[in-house]
């Protein structure tokens, strides 16, 4: 570890390649905080977006036309508008329309802070895609399977939870994986509202140390590595969920 730090210090002194996040404790702290924030933001949004997707896909099978139209409207609107404008809409507009609360020092602060809005905004954005993904998976479950569940006395919700969903989930895992990778990449937009995630941390470092070139390379590789880790876990999940004899 010490020799690695020495190597990067030598690189900075001898070749002006300043990867300051390795040898500068302040920059290292910022970068690690950014990394953790990005991971936390992504993980939270993944959980919420899957929940939104599951609930939305269930509501799309509802008998009421109004409910289905409402879900369809939500899905199409969030899929076909820029996530950055959605984020601004929530953070600047909706936040301003909500009442503010007083913090422990007596100052007025918004009800939901920037990280909160980032989570809400990205979860809804990715959730809209997830609704469509789960719906396509549900439609791929053979009608006979659903009828068999009904004839065994399952209610609509029970059949959804115990029969349709487990099958549909396996079918749509590849598409879901794609969308979750996209979600991870979308979390960079939180930079625009000052959430101290990876891109924000990197910009803080490069505006002080003036090492844009080095930080860019570090950023690109960090994100590609994060995506690789996510893809690895998704593949493992896919393999763990495989039913012997069911898959090809």
């Amino acid at each position: 570890m010490e020799s690695v730090v020495e190597f990067f210090r030598w690189l900075a002194d001898a070749h002006k390649i300043e990867v300051s996040i390795v040898y500068d404790p302040l920059d290292r702290g910022r970068f690690l905080t950014g990394l953790l924030t990005t991971i936390w933001l992504s993980a939270t949004c993944i959980v919420f977006s899957i929940l939104i997707g599951l609930i939305g896909a269930w509501l799309q099978g509802a008998k009421s036309r109004a409910v289905r139209a409402l879900v369809q409207g939500f899905v199409q609107f969030f899929r076909n508008t820029p996530p950055l404008v959605q984020l601004a809409f929530f953070y600047f507009a909706v936040s301003a329309a909500l009442p503010s609360v007083t913090d422990k020092y007596g100052a007025a602060v918004p009800l939901i802070d920037n990280i909160g809005w980032a989570i809400i905004s990205f979860s809804l954005f990715a959730g809209a895609f997830n609704v469509e993904i789960f719906r396509s998976g549900i439609e791929a479950v053979p009608r006979a399977t659903v009828e068999a569940a009904e004839s065994l006395g399952y209610s609509r919700f029970q059949a959804y939870l115990y029969v349709i969903l487990p099958l549909a989930f396996r079918v749509c895992l590849p598409a879901l994986g794609n969308n979750l990778v996209n979600l991870l990449k979308t979390t960079t937009l939180a930079y625009a509202i000052g959430v101290p995630e990876l891109l924000y941390a990197a910009s803080q470092v490069w505006s002080e140390v003036l090492n844009v070139r080095e930080m860019m390379v570090v950023l690109l590789f960090t994100y590609v590595a994060l995506v690789a880790v996510l893809v690895y876990f998704l593949h493992r999940w896919e393999r763990a969920m495989r039913i012997p004899g069911y898959s090809a």
Partner: protein
């Protein structure tokens, strides 16, 4: 035949019973959704207008005042999207063909490049281009300026080229091997086979994902406001600063969302129509 592969293939196919049977009905469906959204927005603005105290201009009149300017910004977003798409497509087709090259080093390098730019966030690539490209290019004594908006176009075309590369590779691989073999037996060279036999057939299959990518790119063009280029997003913020009224925030951002929706939703609908037509034929 109820194995996972078949189910997954079925899940890829859109449902036949969604909006109606003909493409026209579906496009009309998009029209109705749009009309409903705009009507809701106008109604909301009208209510806000009625609720405004006299003496201050109403929300609706302020929206009408700023709409042309924001729309100009929106047109600039579209210009950026078209330019990035053109550059990204041209480079992406070449990279995609390099991915099926017979030379292993070329193939591997193209694969690596594709995966790298596909998996990096768009905003990071945009920062990458704006900060690391030079502000002018010197050719001998002449200096060709390289303004920020041009850099942004290049930055956005990076993820586009990687995605186009994958679309081309997928399209070419989807053509049955028999086509390659019969072309070979007719003494076509490899280049001739690709350009005259494989690509013309693959293009039809590549168009829906390519249109999908274009819609995603159009929505991503708002990112250029983050690197300091004036677009619809910047102008919207400017209008809000100029007016300095909190009750304007919701309607004006909603108006911007509607502009993008009005452009991207028909593209998404038409993409689905094409996909469905393709799925029916095969």
């Amino acid at each position: 035949m109820s194995d996972l592969a078949v189910l997954q293939a079925r899940a890829q196919m859109p449902s036949p019973s969604e909006w109606g049977s003909s493409g026209l009905v579906r496009l009309l469906g998009s029209g109705w959704a749009l009309a409903a959204a705009v009507a809701a927005a106008l109604l909301g603005a009208a209510i806000a207008e009625a609720a405004t105290a006299t003496g201050r201009p109403g929300v609706l009149s302020i929206l009408v005042k700023w709409a042309p300017l924001i729309f100009t910004g929106f047109l600039f977003n579209l210009l950026v999207s078209v330019a990035s798409m053109a550059i990204g497509t041209a480079a992406g087709v070449l990279l995609g063909l390099a991915q099926i090259s017979l030379l292993a080093p070329v193939r591997k390098a193209a694969w690596l490049l594709t995966q790298f730019f596909r998996n990096a966030p768009w905003l990071v690539l945009l920062f990458f281009a704006t900060f690391l490209l030079p502000f002018e290019i010197r050719v001998g004594d002449a200096a060709i300026p390289f303004p920020a908006w041009l850099k942004a176009i290049f930055g956005l075309s990076l993820p586009v080229l990687a995605n186009v590369s994958e679309i081309v590779r997928g399209g070419v691989l989807s053509i049955p091997v028999g086509q390659w073999e019969s072309a070979e037996s007719l003494a076509f060279s490899r280049t001739q086979t690709i350009w005259r036999i494989i690509l013309p057939q693959a293009t039809k299959r590549m168009i829906p994902p390519w249109m999908n990518l274009y819609a995603i790119l159009t929505m991503a063009t708002t990112l250029i406001s983050v690197v300091g280029i004036q677009d619809s997003m910047t102008l919207t913020r400017g209008a809000l600063v100029a007016e300095g009224r909190v009750d304007l925030y919701l309607p004006i951002y909603f108006m911007l969302l509607c502009m993008f929706f009005a452009y991207c939703y028909p593209i998404a609908r038409y993409t689905q129509v094409l996909e469905r037509r393709f799925a029916e034929r095969h």
